[in-house]
C-alpha cells in the first residue's frame, strides 16, 4: 500500500526519507559487491526489478487496488538477499510514482521503509524459517507473500498514525483507525495475492 504524494506533512516526509537512507545505502553497497563478483548478475537484478514493477502494475481481480510489492521484492529477496532489495525496491517505487502515480516523491522515504525494507525482510525471514522447519516451498512462499503484505500495511498504518494522531485517543487510536479502515481494502488484497502466489508456485514447480 503506497502512501500517496503529499499526504504526509513535511517534517514526517523528511524524517522518513532520512530513515530510509541507511537501508538504501546498504543496498547500494551490497549491489556493488554483487556486480563485482558476478558482473552478469547486473542484468538479472534489473530483470528482477522490472518484474517487481510489472507485478505492482497488474490489477488484482475483483479487488480494488493492484498487486503489492512483497511478491516481487520478496521473490527478489529470495534470489538475491533482502538487503539489495532496499535499493531495487526504491528504484521501482520511484518509477511507480512517476509512471503510475502510485506513491510519490515526498512520501518515497516512508514507502521505502514499508515496502522495500520491512516487506522483503519479513518475506525473506518467513521463507527462511519455513524452509528451516521443512515446510513445502509453496506454503512458505505463500505465507511470505501474505504476511509480507500485511506487515507492509501495518507499517503504513503506523506511519499515518504517527503523522495524524487522533485528537482524542492519540497514536494508538489513530493506528486503530487507519488499520481498521485500510483493512477493508488490504486484507482481501493480501489473501488474493496469497492465492495467486500459490498458483504461481504450482505452475513454476510444474514446469
Amino acid at each position: 500500500m503506497h502512501i500517496m504524494e503529499g499526504f504526509l506533512p513535511a517534517t514526517h516526509a523528511v524524517a522518513w526519507s532520512c530513515a530510509a537512507v541507511p537501508f538504501v545505502a546498504a543496498g547500494a553497497w551490497k549491489l556493488k559487491k554483487i556486480v563485482t563478483e558476478r558482473p552478469e548478475a547486473r542484468l538479472q537484478l534489473a530483470a528482477a526489478g522490472g518484474f517487481a514493477f510489472v507485478l505492482s502494475a497488474l490489477k488484482l481481480p475483483s479487488v480494488t487496488g493492484s498487486c503489492s510489492h512483497p511478491t516481487g521484492t520478496g521473490l527478489g529477496a529470495v534470489l538475491f538477499g533482502p538487503s539489495v532489495m532496499a535499493l531495487l525496491g526504491s528504484i521501482v517505487l520511484l518509477f511507480q510514482a512517476l509512471l503510475l502515480a502510485h506513491g510519490g516523491l515526498t512520501t518515497l522515504g516512508a514507502n521505502i521503509i514499508s515496502m522495500a525494507v520491512v516487506g522483503p525482510w519479513v518475506a525473506y525471514g518467513l521463507w527462511r524459517a519455513s524452509s528451516a522447519l521443512g515446510l513445502p516451498a509453496a506454503v512458505g512462499i505463500a505465507l511470505a507473500a501474505i504476511l509480507g503484505d500485511l506487515a507492509t500495511y501495518i507499517v503504513t498504518s503506523a506511519q499515518l498514525a504517527l503523522a495524524f494522531p487522533d485528537p482524542a485517543s492519540g497514536f494508538m487510536g489513530a493506528f486503530a483507525k487507519f488499520a481498521g479502515i485500510f483493512a477493508l481494502t488490504q486484507v482481501p488484497l493480501a489473501i488474493a495475492e496469497g492465492l495467486v502466489t500459490v498458483v504461481v508456485m504450482n505452475a513454476l514447480v510444474g514446469r
Partner: protein, 221 residues
C-alpha cells in the same frame, strides 16, 4: 524543475491558499503548457483517488470514549490534507509528463548519485517496458480464452501470468547478456549521456513564480 520546486512549496506552506495556487499552476502547466490531453491527465489524477478518500475518511473520524464519532474539526483537517495531497500529486504528475524518468536519473547522477545505481535504474527502466509489453500480451491472450471471467479464474490466470513472466524475465536477462557480449560487454555499461540545454529564462521565470506563491501564502496567513 518547476514541478519539484512547487512540490517542496506545497509541503512548506499552509494548504490555503498556497496549495490551491500550486494546484492551479500545475494543472495549467500540464494541460496548456505541456499539452497533455484531458483524458490522459484525468486518468492519471484518478489513480490514487482510493487512497485519498479512505485516508481522509480515517482523518475525519475519531475514536472517543463512546466509540467512533465524527472528529471535531476532523472534516476541516481532512479537507486540508486532501487539498495538499491533490496539489502535490499534480506537481508529481506534471514532472512525470514533462520529464522522462531517465532524464531524472541522469540529473541525479550529475548531482552525485553513484554510477552503479544510475545504471541499475536505467536498466530496470528498459526491462520494465519489455516485461510490461509481455504481461499485456499474455493478459490479452488469457482474456480471449475467457480466463478473466469470474474471481477464481482470474486468480488462476493471474497466477499463470506471473509464473510465465518470471522465467521470461530471467531468460530476457540472459539473452540480453548474450547480445551485449557481442558488443564487448564485460560487466560495466558505459554510455554517452545526452546533454540537456538549460534555459536560463525558464529557470528565472520558475523561481519568480515560486517566490510569488510563497509570498502570497505567507502574507495571507
Amino acid at each position: 524543475m518547476l514541478a519539484l520546486g512547487l512540490l517542496v512549496l506545497v509541503l512548506a506552506v499552509p494548504p490555503w491558499p498556497g496549495a490551491v495556487a500550486v494546484l492551479v499552476i500545475a494543472w495549467t502547466a500540464a494541460l496548456a503548457g505541456a499539452r497533455v490531453t484531458w483524458r490522459d491527465w484525468l486518468r492519471l489524477v484518478a489513480a490514487p483517488l482510493g487512497f485519498a478518500l479512505t485516508g481522509a475518511f480515517a482523518l475525519a473520524i475519531e475514536i472517543g470514549p463512546d466509540g467512533l464519532a465524527l472528529a471535531r474539526d476532523g472534516g476541516a483537517a481532512a479537507a486540508a490534507v486532501v487539498i495538499r495531497a491533490a496539489a502535490a500529486l499534480s506537481c508529481l504528475l506534471l514532472l512525470a509528463v514533462t520529464t522522462p524518468a531517465p532524464d531524472l536519473v541522469r540529473g541525479a547522477r550529475r548531482l552525485g548519485l553513484s554510477p552503479e545505481i544510475a545504471e541499475m535504474a536505467l536498466l530496470i527502466w528498459r526491462f520494465l517496458f519489455m516485461l510490461l509489453e509481455s504481461a499485456t500480451a499474455i493478459r490479452h491472450a488469457q482474456d480471449a480464452r475467457l480466463g478473466w471471467h469470474g474471481f477464481r479464474r482470474s486468480i488462476r490466470s493471474l497466477g499463470l501470468l506471473v509464473a510465465l513472466l518470471l522465467p521470461r524475465a530471467l531468460d530476457r536477462a540472459q539473452r540480453l547478456e548474450c547480445g551485449l557480449a557481442a558488443r564487448g560487454f564485460d560487466g560495466s555499461l558505459p554510455m554517452l549521456s545526452p546533454r540537456q540545454p538549460v534555459s536560463l529564462r525558464f529557470i528565472a521565470a520558475t523561481l519568480g513564480l515560486q517566490a510569488a506563491v510563497l509570498g502570497v501564502s505567507l502574507w495571507w496567513s
